[in-house]
Amino acid sequence: MATTEAYRITERRRVTMTGAEATAEAMRQIHPDVVAAYPITPQTDIVMRFARFVADGVVQTEFVPVESEHSALSAVVGASAAGARAMTATSGPGFALMHEILYVAAGYRLPIVMPVANRALSGPINIHGDHSDTMGSRDAGWIHLYAENAQEAYDDLIQAVRIAEHPEVRVPVLVGQDGFIITHGMEIVEVLTDDEVRAFVGEYRPERYLLDVDHPMTVGALALQNSYFEVKRQLAEAVRRSARIIADVGEEFGRLTGRYYGLTEPYRMEDAELVIVAIGSTAGTAKDVIDELRGRGVKAGLVKVRVFRPFPARNLRDLLGRARAVAVLDRADSYAGLGGPLFAETKAALYGLPQAPVMTGYVYGLGGRDITPEMIAAVYDDLGQLAERARADHAAVAAEAALSVRYLGVRER
C-alpha cells in the first residue's frame, strides 16, 4: 500500500523525536492492516500520532477506536485471526486490563506486535515509568523486547514484525519502552526510508486465516484435559525457538543499519569484575557511569537484557560466569519474592556454575523515581565491597547476597 507523497521518507534522516513519535513513525512505515487502540498515558502519544496518519489518509490502516484495552486487544486478536497484520499499543493499567487476552493471543499463535509504554500500576495512582505492568504478565506467552532509548524503540518495533510472523515462531511480541523517560524524551533517531522498512518487514502472507473461505477452520475451539496441555507445550517450544530467530533478525537489521541486536548487549564486559544487569533506559545511564569508573581503573561492566522472553539464560551464564560480583536492577518488585523478576531469573540462570559470582538485587525507580549516575556508582561501590568480603568466605557471602534485595533511591529514614 502506498503512503501519500507528503509524508513519504525517501532518504534516511536523523531527526529529533520522542520515543512515542519514533514508534508512531515505525508503525506508519510498517503500515499494518488493522490497529485497534484505547488511549492511556503515556502510550497516548503513540496512538494519537498514528490515528492522525489514518485520518490524514497517510496510511490505509483500518483504525478501530474501542472502549477499553480489553476490547483493543480482543479486536486485534480477531483481526489477526482473520488474516490481517494487526497492532495495538498500551501502557500500565491498560496492559493489565489486557491480561486475559494476552493469553488468548499467544495461545492462538497470532503474530501481533504491540508497543508498550511501561508504566506503574495503581494504587496509588501513578502514570510514570516502571516495569510492573509487563513483568506482571511475563508468563502470558508473549515475546518481550525492551528498548534502551527512542532509536531502539523504533528499531525493535520493525524487527518485532519479522520475529512475530516468522513461520517457526508465530508468537505475539511486545516492545517495552520506559514511560515518559523514552516515550516523551527527545533524542536523535535515525529513520529508515519507507521502502527500506517495507522491504525489511515484507508482505504479510499468513499461512492460514479465517477469511480464507477455501480452507475453513475453527479458531478458539474448546481444549480440555485431553489437548490443552499439548497446545501450551507447542507455545513454550515456539517461544524457545524464537531466540535464534530474534538473533538472526537482529543480525540482518544490523547489516541494513549498522545497529546490531542480540538477546543481550554486553558493555565493556571483556574483563569486567563488577557487573550490573539491567533492562531499559537505565542501561544507558549505567554505560556512562561505567566509562567514568573505567577511567579510575574499576573493572565495571554491564549486561543489558534486551529480550526478557525467551529468557537469555545461556547468554547470561556466558557473560556473567567470570564476574566477581553482579547486581541485578529491577524496576518492578515481587513483594517478598526472591527479588524482582530479573534478579530471580538471573540467579536461576547461573545456578550450578562452578564459579558463580556473588549476586545481589536492587529494586529501583518505582513509579518513575529517578535513577541517577550517582546511585549507579553507589551500586558499583557496593559490589566492590561485596567482592572483597567474598574473598574471605565466598560461599557464605554469596548465600546471603542471593537472598538480599535492596531498595535503591527510597527514603530509608
Partner: protein
C-alpha cells in the same frame, strides 16, 4: 501447518492420542463442518421454536439469523428446525415477520 496433519486430527479424534509435535497448532481445527457432529440441542434453554410451515413465506430471515445454522432448508425453502443443534435462543421467532408469525416458542419437557 500441514493440512494432512489437521485431517488426521479430525479423522482419528486424535486429541487424546497425538503428541504435541503432531497436533494441529494452537488448537486450531483446520477444516470446516465439525460442529455438525456435536449435538448441542440437548441443552436447549427450556423452550423450543415450533414452525407452522403453512404460514411460512420462505423469506429466510430465520435462516440468516440463526446462530447455529439450525434452520433446515431444501433449496430456498424452509423445511423445518434441526433440534439436534437448536439451543432455543428464540431469535428465529423474533425475526419472523409479525404478520407471518410462522415460528412460536413453546415450553419443552413439561417443565413450564
Amino acid at each position: 501447518m500441514n493440512p494432512s496433519r489437521g485431517a488426521a486430527f479430525i479423522e482419528r479424534e486424535a486429541s487424546v492420542t497425538l503428541p504435541w509435535t503432531e497436533m494441529a497448532e494452537a488448537g486450531l481445527i483446520p477444516q470446516g463442518g465439525t460442529a455438525a457432529r456435536v449435538k448441542t440441542g440437548a441443552w436447549r434453554t427450556g423452550s423450543m421454536p415450533v414452525l407452522e410451515l403453512s404460514r411460512c413465506i420462505h423469506c429466510l430471515r430465520c435462516w440468516i439469523w440463526c446462530p447455529d445454522s439450525a434452520v433446515l432448508l431444501d433449496g430456498e425453502k424452509v423445511t423445518g428446525i434441526d433440534y439436534d443443534h437448536c439451543k432455543g435462543c428464540g431469535i428465529c421467532a423474533q425475526v419472523c415477520p409479525p404478520k407471518v408469525h410462522a415460528i412460536e416458542m413453546v415450553p419443552e419437557g413439561g417443565e413450564a
